[in-house]
């Protein structure tokens, strides 16, 4: 028990002292995950919206495919992307392996299906009467689509937050494509795994605390925004 408490106390001191190594790791994690989330949202939201709202042929097949991709393990994505960007891969000349860009690519592939699938669910839940109401009030096709998008905004925001949570806590892609290089591609999860291997729990626990705080913070902000808009 004392070991557990000692680790937490030491971790707390590390966070309190704004430890440079800790904050470099957090900064790398946040920058990679935020960029991946933004790129994936830019692709996944329109894709999901189009599938849910438009009269797309093969809609059911696309939704099944998206749902299947949700279960794709991070190591499988890491492996496939590795085959493309390694020296012998077709993207080898771009020299992306063990860079933050490689991690972003892998993470985008991981969460585009997640954002798209959750956007499909969010937009499908929007009452059909919104579309009819917008049309009868004189809205054109784009204006009608925007109304439906606006009414599904909280579901879509929840999709983006879930996706961010997925990438900031994943380890397979970061390890295989980033290489866990100190100060460059070392993220919270890869650092925690390394510290665990070394038997040094203090930094690992400190990073775990930061990770949970980030997750909590994002959900609190989302709930506040949702509550204010829903009042």
């Amino acid at each position: 028990m004392s070991f557990f408490l000692d680790s937490f106390a030491a971790a707390g001191r590390l966070v309190w002292a704004l430890d440079p190594e800790l904050f470099t790791i957090v900064r790398v994690s946040l920058s990679v995950s935020c960029l991946a989330t933004v790129i994936a949202a830019a692709g996944g939201i329109p894709l999901g919206f189009f599938v849910a709202y438009g009269r797309v042929p093969g809609r059911r097949a696309i939704i099944t495919l998206l749902n299947t991709l949700l279960a794709l393990p991070t190591v499988v994505i890491g492996l496939f992307v590795y085959m493309f960007i390694s020296r012998r891969g077709i993207l080898g000349p771009l020299d992306l392996l063990y860079t933050q860009q490689a991690m972003v690519i892998g993470q985008v592939i991981l969460i585009v299906p997640l954002i798209a699938a959750l956007t499909v669910a969010a937009v499908s839940r929007v009452d059909e009467r919104y579309r009819r109401t917008a049309q009868t009030l004189g809205a054109g096709p784009w204006q009608t689509a925007l109304v439906v998008l606006r009414e599904g905004r909280f579901g879509i925001a929840a999709a983006v937050i879930s996706a961010f949570g997925r990438v900031i806590s994943e380890i397979g892609i970061s390890m295989m494509l980033g290489g866990n290089i100190k100060g460059f591609t070392r993220t919270m999860t890869t650092a925690m795994a390394l510290e665990y291997d070394k038997g040094a729990f203090t930094l690992a626990v400190a990073l775990g605390l930061v990770l949970m705080a980030i997750s909590l913070g994002m959900n609190v902000v989302f709930n506040l925004v949702q509550g204010r808009a829903g009042r």
């Binding site: 009819r132 009030l137 004189g138």
Partner: protein
């Protein structure tokens, strides 16, 4: 002037024809009630009139011009007609923003928008809710807000799908008064669906009755599900299981126990003040009197509401008043079994 002209119009979903209208004209500036049982095609017809849907076959003309499939043309037409749903849905914004929506789309400038929003809110008596969230309003208020949202756009035609079906009595009266005001003061053509025959009789100048997707009458609303009871003398036609009218002759095509639909011509019903003195008369109570051109519309409650149209001479001879007991006689030629489509 005819605003809408429907000729040999059908709407089918797959092989199922849900609406088949040979001829229907809707005149500008009038108020129409669209009656019929559930599944009769009322909402389908409203969607067609609102240009939200297209007929499968036949022609639909608006202001004398045929309505085509061109998207731009249909959008322009949609901006002249507003449909208010039975359960209207509000955008998740403020009351004022909901009303502003259609005005913004029409690129009305901000000052004019604010004026129109205020005027619409005052018309429906919701001005104190201007800044409130639209989703916080009650059912009746939501229905009035939906009307305000439509009125702000000053439409040529206002279509209402059962506007008073899901609101309390107080709001029903407010909405009915509002529809009458919009029709008389602004000259807006109004078509509303209803199951309430009394409301239809009191509000609308014309009544359109749909039965299994077909137009069965455009001048009256005496349409009932019926069964024949031959065990009594004289035999009786039981309307909606609630009123039995004595028959002078058996209608052709209806077997005892079998359920059919009957239409009763309101101009051929005999009306006499006082309790029945003959076995072929049926007692009732007058619930509504309305002048309708050269005729007087008398709505009589005999267990179901029956509309009787009297010319002024016949009316003067009897002078029925609201609340009076009257006797109705149904001649054989007043009854016709409806022949809905299969």
């Amino acid at each position: 002037m005819s605003l809408y002209q429907l000729e040999h119009l059908t709407r089918a979903y797959g092989r199922r024809i849900v609406l088949a209208i040979d001829h229907l004209e809707i005149e500008a500036g009038r108020m129409y009630a669209l009656l019929g049982p559930n599944g009769a095609g009322k909402t389908t017809l409203l969607n067609l009139l609102a240009f939200l849907d297209e007929p499968t076959t036949g022609s639909l003309r608006f202001c004398g011009k045929p309505v085509g499939s061109d998207r731009v043309e249909r959008l322009a037409l949609r901006r002249q007609v507003v449909l208010v749903d039975q359960h209207p849905i509000m955008f998740s914004t403020s009351v004022a923003a909901n009303i502003e929506f259609g005005l913004k789309i029409r690129k009305i400038d901000r000052t004019a928008r604010q004026r129109a929003v205020q005027a619409a809110l005052e018309t429906v008596g919701l001005e104190r809710y201007r800044a409130a969230r639209a989703h916080e309003l009650s059912g009746g208020e939501t229905q009035r807000l939906a009307l305000a949202r439509a009125l702000a756009l000053a439409p040529t035609v206002l279509l209402c799908d059962e506007p008073t079906a899901s609101v309390d009595t107080e709001n029903q009266a407010k909405i009915a008064a509002l529809l009458r005001r919009i029709n008389t003061e602004q000259g807006t053509t109004i078509v509303f669906t209803s199951h309430d025959r009394l409301q239809a009789a009191s509000l609308a100048e014309r009544t359109v009755v749909l039965e299994s997707g077909r137009l069965t009458a455009t001048t009256y609303e005496n349409h009932y599900a019926c069964t024949l009871d031959e065990t009594l003398v004289p035999p009786r036609l039981v309307l909606h299981g609630q009123a039995a009218i004595p028959l002078t002759a058996l209608p052709a095509g209806l077997q005892p126990g079998q359920t059919g639909r009957v239409a009763i011509d309101p101009t051929r019903i005999r009306l006499r003040t006082g309790a029945p003195t003959e076995a072929t008369e049926c007692p009732g109570r007058v619930v509504l009197l309305m002048a309708e051109g050269a005729q007087i519309r008398v709505t009589v409650d005999i267990g179901v509401l029956v509309v009787v149209l009297l010319d002024r001479e016949r009316y003067r001879a009897q002078r029925p008043a609201v609340g009076d007991t009257v006797s109705l006689g149904f001649a054989a030629d007043a009854l016709s079994l409806a022949q809905p489509s299969a």
